[in-house]
Amino acid sequence: MNDFFLIAILVLIYVVIFQISKASEYVSILKGEEKARKQNNKINGFLMIAFLIAGLVGVWWCNKLYYPKTLFPQGSASAEGENIDTMLWITIAVTGVVFFITQILLFAFSFRYQESEKRKPLYFTHSNKLELIWTGIPAIVLTVLVVFGLKYWFKFTSDAPKNSQLIEITGHQFGWEIRYPGRDGLLGRKNFKLTDPAKNNPLGVDWADVASHDDLHVATTMHVVVNKPVKLVINSQDVIHDVGLPHFRMKMDAVPGTPTTLWFTPIYTTAQMKEKTGNPDFTYEISCDQMCGKGHFTMRGIIIVESQQEFDGWIVTQKPEYYKAFPALDPSNPHLPVNDSTSKTVAQGVSIKK
């Protein structure tokens, strides 16, 4: 019943608008078309300037409402992101000036030069001087923006600093898997053909590579150390995903078959950000930014930025993935066969224990 009324009202509105429009056409014929046209011209000319003023107020109002919700007020959570914010401000300033000048001219000219019997339009076909000015100025300004942009672009895409912490992140429908190298600082080799979740090897780690034996694997939540550069090696198991890190101003696709990398330096711990934003629920989130299927919007990861101590405290509680796949070899396993003895296993057990 409700729906029916809604539709009826809608139809009624259409009919009313249509009748008014038709009537206005008859009136214009009665009044003389030329006169009616000129009247309409005045109305539209006035609306042009009204739109400009309302639009400028609207731009200010929108900014007032929504600027606090953008990432600007809380600042960048990574050192590199601060460069991006600087560049954003420069670009906003440059494009903002052009925006206001051109929009104001557009609507002001429309209003000012609306049809009038007194005016003879100027026959003005071209001016090489003017053309040169407004080709040259944008070209120079854009060069400045390009130089700035490329300077930062090459900085962000260069090799990660030597002291970076290496972490691997792998996307799949619909979640993130995170792998840390153990003490050796090396991630074990992977081969997608070895993937077998039933045998506790969901990432297809090649156990034949000794470097894999001390690697840690956790789902969803990544721990990183504040003020220490992080280098992410990014993989995907199925379709293209994207590691989106809005607070750090970073982003990189996860492409099946082609590992990608990204690095950044977090400068605030999660606890500091909670204070900074005044939001006790603040979390660094990893958003998947590349359409990846029906659960795209649920593909959420978490980053916890903490002090070195907190990080060390956390990582010792983690068990290498190798022992999840082969519990029998785990030295901390109480059911460990007593005299199972290959010296290899013992050696690895030692190397893994912190």
């Binding site: 053309e131 260069s158 078959g257 979390t283």
Partner: protein, 602 residues
Amino acid sequence: MDNEEVLHQQPLVVHDLGHEAHEHHHKETFITKYIFSQDHKMISKQFLITGMIWAVIGGLFSVIFRLELGYPDQTFPFLEDIFGRWAAGGKLDPEFYYAMVTMHGTILVFFVLTAGLSGTFSNFLIPLQVGARDMASPFLNMLSYWFFFAASIVMFSSLFVQTGPASGGWTIYPPLSALGDAMEGSKAGMDLWLASIALFIISVLLGGLNYITTILNLRTKGMYMTRLPLTIWAFFFTAVLGVLTFPVLLSAVILLLFDRHLGTSFYLSDIVIGGKILPNEGGSPILFQHLFWFLGHPEVYIIALPAMGIASEVIATNARKPIFGYMAMVGSLFAIASLSFMVWAHHMFVTGMNPFLGSFFVLLTLLIAVPSAIKVFNWLTTLWKGNIHFTPGMLFSIGFVSLFISGGLTGIWLGNSALDIHLHDTYFVVAHFHLVMGVASMFGMFAGVYHWYPKMFGRHMNHTLAYIHFWVTMIGAYLIFWPMHYEGLAGMPRRYYDFSNWESFKMFSGLNEFISVIALIVFATQFLFIFNFFYSMFKGRKLANPNPWGSNTMEWTTPIHPPHGNWHGEIPEVHRWPYDYGKEGRDFIPQTEPAGANESSH
């Protein structure tokens, strides 16, 4: 001049035959006149009306997914009545949401803003404005429409398959689009999508080759290239872009079909999906993106250039003033068209591409801003000291310039790769491309329809309805897309079905609701236009003056209802450029008027 003379013999011969055949002996049946017509004017109307139907469908889809975005907690039982299991319990299934998003993009980009815009106005205006009886090949022209029609049928039918239409986004990136296991929409729906686009590409090529040939070869006597209206220049570059880039999309589509059905690995490597380890190795999904965007970027100019051409023509006519900097306008169209071939990878800055390569794309992308700026400044100078008539076409052209500025400037942000890292795939991008190519080009299309409706149907549209249509759409467009920049600056990703689980993005629920309401109102307002369009066809005020806007171009020298062949008798000769408005005390001087003895040249 020998060549010229030979060329201009041709139309005369055609004319004589055409005149005889079509007006005296041969009786046109309903089918040859309205369905399998070879008259460019009728074909353009077919493109226009098909495009309008698609626009309603594509627009409706956006309203449906905006309902979900605006009211994530509510259910709409009527949706279940319409869509059945896709909206069980009155709540959109995420799979269906993504199908709607994908279809909205596909339909609007290809069927409305390519076929509906360029198809309509290139067909209608090229022969009329260059002074030709018809296209170079009317038969291929007819085929162009019917291939588009076939593409439409295939795409439309994909809405009804069990597993739904394609749903991986209009860019159909593999592996998502290549593997049926990845998504329901990547099953039968994707095959239909690919088939439909293949047919569509044929349509674009047939049309484009015709447009180019006609512009180069069938201009009337005296119509030098430098005397062409800017509309024709825009259609010319658009057609060249289409002919050179659409075949690349076809190759991408064919390789994707191979990967889907023949077990090849062009785009696939190292994939484990749904617990299955796929045998594919050595392919690269990024290869598809290169092929796709080699079309995809020129495609946005295929959409934008005709709108620029139409706006230039309409603004000059209604400011009663010559377009400022005609040669600069042509030059900037040329610059935009050629640069557009060399910027495609700016869509791929975060795919892990070589940063050194990326830097070239930054440079070339930002370079496009220069010719774009020239165009804007020239439009502004055209308005300056004019005598502006606010016809509906003029209003939409001014609106086009405004939207083009707003959306174009943010292109400078996104084209700069360092900023793109942060803004890529957020709502900032959604705001940018909707303003600059979506709504702006739609405005170009509206401007074209309102301006040339009297030529198409010999009647006027209702202006009051047109004014309401313009102002509501203009205000609505800004209300919808302006605040989206802020969502993007908050990092909010596009193509999310629901934001409520995200600590970082959930604070915009009020704004999302607002945007959805405005979108609904703007969508409803478009029916005023559609009603006005069809009603005026039969009941509109009849044209008394064959040149209602006091325009210089050749189409207004034809009779109010131009016959098949456009002019009775000989095609008039052209003596001047099309922008002699307000020259030496005269309001306008048509192109067909010989230069006066003491007249200065422009």
